[in-house]
């Protein structure tokens, strides 16, 4: 057996995580030096698949860049479906790095659109990414426009899975019409539809809006059902942040436990957007637990000051890129939401 095969076999026996990625990286390096282009391509595609779900966008993007180049170099050598499917993820993850300019993200989305059109795919995933990027930048008019385009475009085999699309719809209504969002989410919560990320993320999304609406018991249920789904998983840092926010209002000690459990992963991320959400949740929790924060089992440099600094500096970077104050506003919004939630919970 070749060395790279041994590595890949070891990697296959590991659960998805950094250890697995490291072994695969080494195997891919070997395949590159052996100039085994086909194997290097397919192993990279596997690798991207894992890296994306672990929130390792920077690794996935680099690997994808190589694959896309090979695909373009020899049209017909590699099946287009897989790489075009992966491209959706890449286009989404690129948005999460503030150092990547708006122009580059738009160029990438345009490239995705062009390729989908050339291959005869519907533009549904493209419209969703456009909506997502506009929404994240705080351009609500543009976001609305692309949401409607997304709804009108027919599904095809390049569309996100049904569970994900359902979740997209839920996320659209969550802030404006909780009742409708609950209706839409029913089939997800009842287990009729689901995938790797949905409804794990959906439960987290419902926590604060539900609590804010005064449905305390229901919010607890979402926590108790939703958190175990991601407790031992990597790649769910934004959802963990939401669970921490919820617990900050209802059970601070438990919130601190979650913080300690997931902090190492959050610290290791390059995706600044995910870090922003986690650090923001952590900094608000720190305000609540005051002196008690020194008893936490976390790295020494992670203090309240450090966290607020990080949050501010990431927000500045994103706002600088986007040319507005959307992230600054997000900080205020989260604080306001938590304040509104507190009013719904009777002090224990």
């Amino acid at each position: 057996m070749m060395d790279y095969q041994k590595l890949l076999r070891q990697a296959a026996s590991l659960p998805d995580g950094d250890a697995k990625l490291t072994l695969m990286e080494e195997a891919i390096r070997m395949l590159d030096s052996l100039q085994e282009v086909d194997n290097a391509f397919y192993e990279r595609m596997n690798y991207i698949n894992i890296a994306v779900f672990l929130g390792r966008g920077e690794k996935a993007i680099v690997a994808f860049a190589w694959c896309l180049a090979q695909y373009d170099k020899e049209p017909g050598r590699f099946v287009s479906h897989n790489i075009m499917w992966t491209y959706k993820w890449i286009a989404e993850h690129i948005q999460r790095f503030p150092q990547i300019s708006v122009e580059k993200v738009e160029e990438t989305l345009a490239d995705l659109k062009r390729r989908y059109q050339e291959l005869g795919y519907k533009l549904r995933p493209y419209y969703w990414q456009k909506r997502k990027f506009a929404f994240e930048r705080g351009d609500l008019e543009e976001a609305e426009k692309y949401f409607q385009l997304w709804m009108e475009e027919p599904r095809d085999r390049m569309s996100d899975c049904r569970a994900c699309e359902r979740d997209h719809q839920v996320s659209y209504y969550l802030e404006k019409d909780l009742h409708r969002a609950e209706d839409l989410a029913k089939s997800l919560f009842q287990g009729w539809e689901g995938c790797r990320t949905v409804p794990s993320t959906t439960y987290a999304d419902f926590l604060l809006p539900t609590l804010q609406a005064g449905k305390v018991e229901l919010a607890w249920q979402y926590y108790q059902t939703g958190y175990p789904l991601i407790r031992g998983e990597k790649g769910f840092i934004p959802s963990v942040a939401k669970h921490i926010q919820f617990l900050t209002v209802v059970d601070k000690e438990e919130a601190a436990i979650l913080l300690q459990r997931h902090l190492p992963e959050a610290l290791s991320l390059y995706e600044k957007d995910c870090q922003f959400q986690f650090f923001l949740a952590a900094s608000i929790l720190f305000e609540e637990i005051g002196e008690y924060q020194h008893t936490l089992n976390i790295p020494d440099h992670v203090t309240y000051e450090w966290l607020t600094n990080e949050v501010e500096s990431i927000a500045k970077k994103f706002d600088g890129r986007n040319g507005n104050d959307g992230y600054q506003k997000k900080i205020i919004e989260v604080r306001e939401k938590l304040e509104a939630c507190r009013k719904m919970v009777k002090p224990r």
């Binding site: 250890a19 690794k59 190589w66 896309l68 373009d72 790095f97 990547i100 390059y270």
Partner: protein
């Protein structure tokens, strides 16, 4: 305004059910037995001492398709109940407060018979009435009811004639097999009437057996002996079961499937979400009465109750392990040997188990595989790398220096190591990466430094364009001329710039933006070994061109040893120097 009703096309519905809701046509047998069992349970509520049985027979003839006959001496139905329950989809007689005593919930069960038959004939007499009722239902939704002028003991009889093309589901062997499959542990005897009467189900279920009997039962069934059997129970979910410890190692991301029964009727052999994920080293046989099922009755409804049950069942396994560690029996060693990775993942989360097991868990070290107890006996300072890659870079050097270095790159190992001081306060745990490790190499004396000075200056100049810093130190093994090390950032940086050369303009610029601002540019390191004879010769060479070529070649060689694909510039380096060496040799 007039009000109308939809006409629901029953044929279409049945098609939907058979193609989408159920996994195989054989489920019609499960639904029939289930109705029988529910009727018997209902009768027992009226007459506690009633001895319920179910009987099955097959009628075959050379001219006609086979017919299945199934009878029970349960509660039976009155005419009114027949109209109400047999003839409305979604209606079930098993509603109300006592719902959890029954298996069925959706009132669609009987419809599954239309997957294999064009007509259901049902004859029934209720314990509350003397009338014998015959009901004939057709898949187009029509049905007939008539009163029969005959004597019958309370109970229900069903006749099903096979549809053309579905005869295989009416063969005696397959009927016996599937009835046994679904109803093996049902609490009422199920008889098959062939040439002689045989009982199809067992008298006692594994979850009611003692450990040894449960092990023997499983061995007789699967031909393999499990390492042990752990009793499981959950009061909130009404679960009883057995977790068999698998006799072979399973990978940590395997999802075990468990055989799950509800009210002693087989639900599915592929349920994975009833035990915690970390319990991948056991396979369970369980009966659950308190959990809700989805409509297909082949899965549990995801809920917070299910989560609580999972925790409770996990605790059973945990308690068992604690007990095992305290006794240190042969079984303990056997299980540890096979399932240490599972126990590791458990110990990360659970302090009690951690304290009990950590000494016996094996780790990969530069001196081979060792248990924590062995590792601790080497000293109070424990060094580890956090990635496999880092470990590979320096384990050879560590070994040559008899330094015990742990590979913390595998799942959970780093986390386990970091928890060590909680149990052993005297231990100090230190993460090292390749570069901190090489910092511990022996520094040169002033004189030696002078000797290496020119060489080092040249080396740094030569390798600077490759983001590589050079140094000279003394280290073992002396056969190693140079050690190339880089940390995670430098490694990522290298990979990114390699890819940048390969990809299109758009992604090259994206990588540029992502890496330039996102990653601190860290230099990789090439540390030459003062004790290596080749390096010694190089110090004293007065040919700068030769020095340069050898440095470049050693650099490329170190990259190749570490399995790093060469960038174009490095490939050129290799080619240039090869040609150079050849021509020098030929010139001589």
């Amino acid at each position: 305004m007039s009000q109308f009703h939809f006409k629901v096309n029953l044929k279409g519905m049945i098609d939907l059910l058979s193609n989408h809701l159920y996994s195989t046509p054989h489920v019609y047998l499960r639904e029939l037995i289930q109705n029988g069992v529910d009727a018997l349970t209902a009768r027992k509520k009226v007459t506690a001492e009633h001895e319920g049985t179910i009987g099955i027979e097959l009628f075959t003839s050379p001219t006609k398709p086979p017919t299945l006959y199934i009878e029970d001496n349960g509660i039976g139905l009155t005419e009114e109940e027949v109209h109400q329950f047999l003839s409305q989809i979604g209606q079930t007689s098993k509603r109300g407060e006592e719902e959890q005593d029954f298996i069925g919930r959706f009132g669609v069960g009987l419809l599954s018979c239309f997957i294999v038959s064009e007509e259901i004939v049902l004859i029934t007499r209720s314990v509350h009435s003397d009338e014998v009722i015959e009901w004939r239902g057709k898949p187009d939704g029509s049905y007939q009811i008539k009163k029969l002028d005959q004597e019958m003991l309370p109970g229900t009889k069903v006749f099903l004639q096979s549809k053309r093309g579905f005869e295989e589901y009416f063969q005696p062997d397959s009927v016996r097999k599937y009835v046994k499959h679904y109803g093996e542990f049902l609490p009422y005897p199920i008889y098959f009437y062939g040439e002689e009467r045989i009982r199809l189900n067992e008298e006692i279920a594994p979850w009611e057996m003692r450990t040894e009997a449960a092990l023997q039962y499983a061995e007789a069934r699967n031909g393999a002996r499990h390492l042990d059997a752990i009793p499981l129970s959950s009061t909130i979910g009404g679960v009883k079961g057995i977790a068999y410890v698998l006799p072979y190692a399973v990978s940590t991301n395997a999802k075990q499937s468990h055989q799950v029964y509800v009210k002693q009727m087989l639900l599915s052999e592929k349920v994975s979400n009833i035990l915690p994920d970390w319990a991948f080293f056991v396979t369970g046989v369980l009966n659950a009465d308190g959990l809700r099922l989805t409509a297909s009755r082949e899965e549990f409804y995801q809920s917070d109750l299910l989560e609580l049950v999972r925790v409770e069942l996990g605790d059973c396994i945990k308690k068992y392990l604690v007990n095992l560690a305290e006794k240190q029996s042969d079984t303990f060693w056997e299980i540890l040997d096979v399932h240490y990775s599972s126990i590791k993942s458990l110990a990360v989360e659970d302090d009690e188990l951690y304290a009990l097991f950590v000494d016996w868990l094996p780790f990969e070290t530069s001196l081979g595989r060792k248990t924590m107890k062995e590792i601790r006996s080497e000293g109070d300072m424990i060094l580890y790398t956090s990635s496999v890659d880092q470990f590979r870079q320096v384990s050879k050097v560590a070994k040559a220096q008899s330094v015990l270095l742990l590979n913390g790159g595998y799942v959970h190992d780093s986390e386990l190591l970091r928890k060590l001081p909680n149990v052993f306060p005297e231990l100090e745990i230190q993460e090292v990466d390749a570069s901190t490790f090489s910092e511990n190499f022996v520094d040169l004396t002033l004189k030696e430094r002078e000797e290496a000075y020119t060489f080092l200056r040249v080396a740094n100049l030569v390798l600077q364009p490759f983001q590589c810093e050079c140094d000279v130190k003394k280290f073992n093994p002396s056969e190693l001329p140079a050690l190339y090390t880089n940390n995670k950032e430098a490694s990522f940086f290298r990979n990114a710039s390699y890819t940048k050369e390969e990809t299109n303009d758009l992604f090259a610029s994206i990588i540029d933006q992502m890496v330039v601002e996102g990653v601190k540019p860290t230099f990789a390191q090439l540390c030459f070994n003062y004790d290596n004879p080749t390096i010694q010769q190089l110090f004293h060479s007065d040919d700068p061109k030769l020095q340069r070529s050898v440095i470049e070649t050693l650099y490329v060689q170190a990259l190749l040893l570490g399995h790093h694909p060469l960038k174009q510039s490095e490939m050129k380096l290799l080619n240039k120097n090869l040609r150079q060496f050849i021509s020098w040799r030929l010139e001589k």
